[in-house]
């Protein structure tokens, strides 16, 4: 095994520690972004559903502003968002370089994406069931938690997996602000220094992360389905 690695993956063998660090950085960025953007994105998705015309908390001006903001932020390429948000990042996390600095643009980028996905997932919930709950005298908050989020749970898990997977690919761009991670390793070392084996192994590790995310999601869905 060791000789195989030394022979075919010489650059990987020379510095295995860099892979450990890079994987750690990718996980750091993915997990923190998932947590923060997950909570805010869920809120955005719910707001998009309940404030729309005919929704539980119908509020046309609020809905239209939120809807537009989501569209605009989603339209900005992530690599540009990284640069665009530098000042904001400085204010929030106190630095503009490193994995921590990548968190702010990642969160900003993922929130509208996830929010839209959540919106779509919740709109799949049968409006008839919502109406039935209203007729039963369930409060509006009760309907959000007990009908929308409960009935939409499987779809929510599905879009969460989708979001995490696209998030992992976003973290690959974090190198632009010195965020590190597997993507950065593949580019700055593997590609720029013609150390192809590093690119290949970094890619495989990213794929592994994606597969694990998908696997966990599928397990949860299986447990929720009956």
């Amino acid at each position: 095994m060791a000789s195989f690695i030394a022979k075919y993956l010489p650059n990987v063998a020379a510095d295995p520690q860099s892979f450990v660090t890079a994987t750690g950085q990718t996980l750091y960025m993915t997990l923190w972004t998932s947590l923060v953007a997950g909570i805010i994105g869920l809120l955005v998705g719910v707001l998009l559903v309940v404030t729309r015309p005919g929704g539980l908390y119908q509020n046309k001006p609020f809905f239209q502003v939120l809807d537009k903001v989501v569209n605009i932020v989603r339209a900005i390429p992530f690599i540009i968002l990284l640069a665009l948000l530098a000042t904001v990042t400085q204010h929030i996390v106190g630095t503009t370089i490193g994995s921590k600095a990548a968190l702010v643009p990642l969160v900003v980028c993922v929130i509208p994406f996830y929010g839209r996905q959540i919106e779509t997932a919740l709109l799949e919930v049968d409006p008839g069931v919502v109406e039935a709950a209203q007729a039963m005298g369930i409060s509006r908050m009760g309907i959000i938690f007990r009908v929308y989020l409960r009935e939409g749970l499987i779809s929510i898990v599905r879009v969460s997996a989708l979001t995490i997977i696209s998030l992992i690919s976003l973290t690959a761009m974090a190198g632009a602000v010195g965020g590190g991670g597997l993507g950065d390793l593949a580019i700055s070392q593997g590609y720029n220094r013609f150390e192809n084996d590093i690119t290949v192994v970094a890619t495989l590790l990213i794929l592994l992360l994606v597969l694990i995310s998908q696997l966990i999601c599928n397990l949860i869905i299986k447990k929720l389905s009956h």
């Binding site: 049968d126 008839g128 069931v129 109406e131 039935a132 709950a133 209203q134 007729a135 039963m136 005298g137 369930i138 409060s139 009760g142 007990r146 009908v147 409960r150 009935e151 749970l153 499987i154 929720l224 009956h226």
Partner: protein, 348 residues
């Protein structure tokens, strides 16, 4: 008095266009009525019934439920009042992610009831609708009729006085429809439940309702007791609904398409409708003995509306023209509703 509609109108604004779904409806639904509201889709029935629990706010007029105008209530009070009005729907609207038990328990949770109370109540309700053994299953494992039973159990969870049924049997086959209707009738008798039954199927009304209102283009065009509506329908639409329900139209179509059925020059086709109070007279026989005309029964149907027999006959009458006319006058005098029918398709 239970539910009182006073000049109720509902107007929708759909992309600049004004749609008046309900127009000036006045209707009183009494305690323990099973009140049928009939009409084609788009007639405004569902909108009207939603003004009762304020799922739909009336644009004009007032709806009083036991004297309370729901629009004057706070959000919390409205929720409490809504709990006393059960509602069932065409597509059942069960929560697919919850078990049958949890679906029925759904309106009971977070209302301050203990787990044991909820469990007892839910099991009792499931027994009542005949699904005691299905508690652990999921809605997706049930047939349409069973789903509607679960929905009924759920609608009864908070011991309502009123049950709103919005096309609850329209997605079910005829046999299941009848079973669900019988269940509703049982609940009406057993629990003293007032039921508002929205439907486009006159058969459903015929089976259970004691009163009927017919809606067309947002208006109530005719209302009254079921016996009255079925025996003496005034409006064209009501007559149409009833003909479909009594299968007279179907029989007529069969006659028209038949190659073997012809009317002679001294023959005419009549539809006779009569109710129980005058069925003790041997009418058909007396036509021959009194007037010498021969009545031939081509189609017959007797329904029990609120335990009053209601008959529908298609007969051909043969004899001299003046004799036939005397016969018709005689029948009318006996309280029989007589409609002349034509074999030509264009007459309908």
């Amino acid at each position: 008095m239970m539910i009182d509609f006073k000049d109720v109108s509902v107007t929708f604004h759909d992309s600049g266009k004004e749609v008046r779904a309900v127009k000036d409806v006045n209707l009183t639904i009494e305690d323990q009525d099973i009140y049928g509201i009939v009409g084609y889709s788009g007639a405004g029935k569902s909108t009207l019934v939603r003004t009762i629990n304020l799922l739909q706010k009336p644009t004009d007029g007032q709806v009083l439920v036991n004297g309370t105008d729901f629009t004057t209530l706070s959000e919390k009070e409205l929720r409490e009042h809504r709990r006393k009005i059960g509602m069932i729907f065409q597509h059942f609207n069960l929560l697919e992610s919850l078990t049958i038990f949890d679906n029925v328990a759904f309106p009971l949770r977070h209302t301050g009831k203990s787990k044991r109370e909820i469990k007892e109540k839910v099991n009792q309700l499931l027994e009542l609708v005949g699904l005691g053994d299905k508690a652990k299953g999921y809605p997706s494992q049930l047939s349409g009729g069973q789903k509607q039973r679960v929905a009924i159990a759920r609608a009864l969870a908070n011991d309502p006085q009123i049950l709103l049924s919005d096309e609850a049997t329209s997605a079910l086959d005829p046999k299941t429809t009848l079973q669900i209707l019988r269940l509703l009738k049982k609940l009406n008798k057993q629990l003293g439940l007032t039921i508002v039954l929205i439907t486009h199927q006159m058969e459903a009304v015929k089976a259970v309702c004691n009163k009927v209102a017919v809606m067309e283009y947002g208006r109530v065009i005719e209302k009254g007791s079921a016996v009255q509506i079925f025996s003496e329908p005034q409006e064209k639409l009501t007559q149409e609904f009833i003909r479909v329900a009594s299968h007279v139209d179907e029989a007529l179509t069969t006659l028209r398409q038949s190659d073997h059925f012809h009317l002679g020059a001294d023959e005419q086709l009549l539809q006779l409708t009569y109710n129980g109070t005058n069925t003790d007279q041997p009418l058909i026989a007396s036509l021959f003995s009194n007037f010498g005309v021969i009545a031939n029964i081509l189609y017959g149907n007797v329904d029990l509306i609120q335990d009053v027999p209601l008959g529908n006959l298609i007969i051909s009458l043969r004899g001299d023209e003046d004799k036939r006319q005397s016969s018709i006058d005689y029948l009318k005098k006996q309280g029989v509703h007589v409609i002349e029918l034509s074999l030509a398709n264009s007459s309908h």
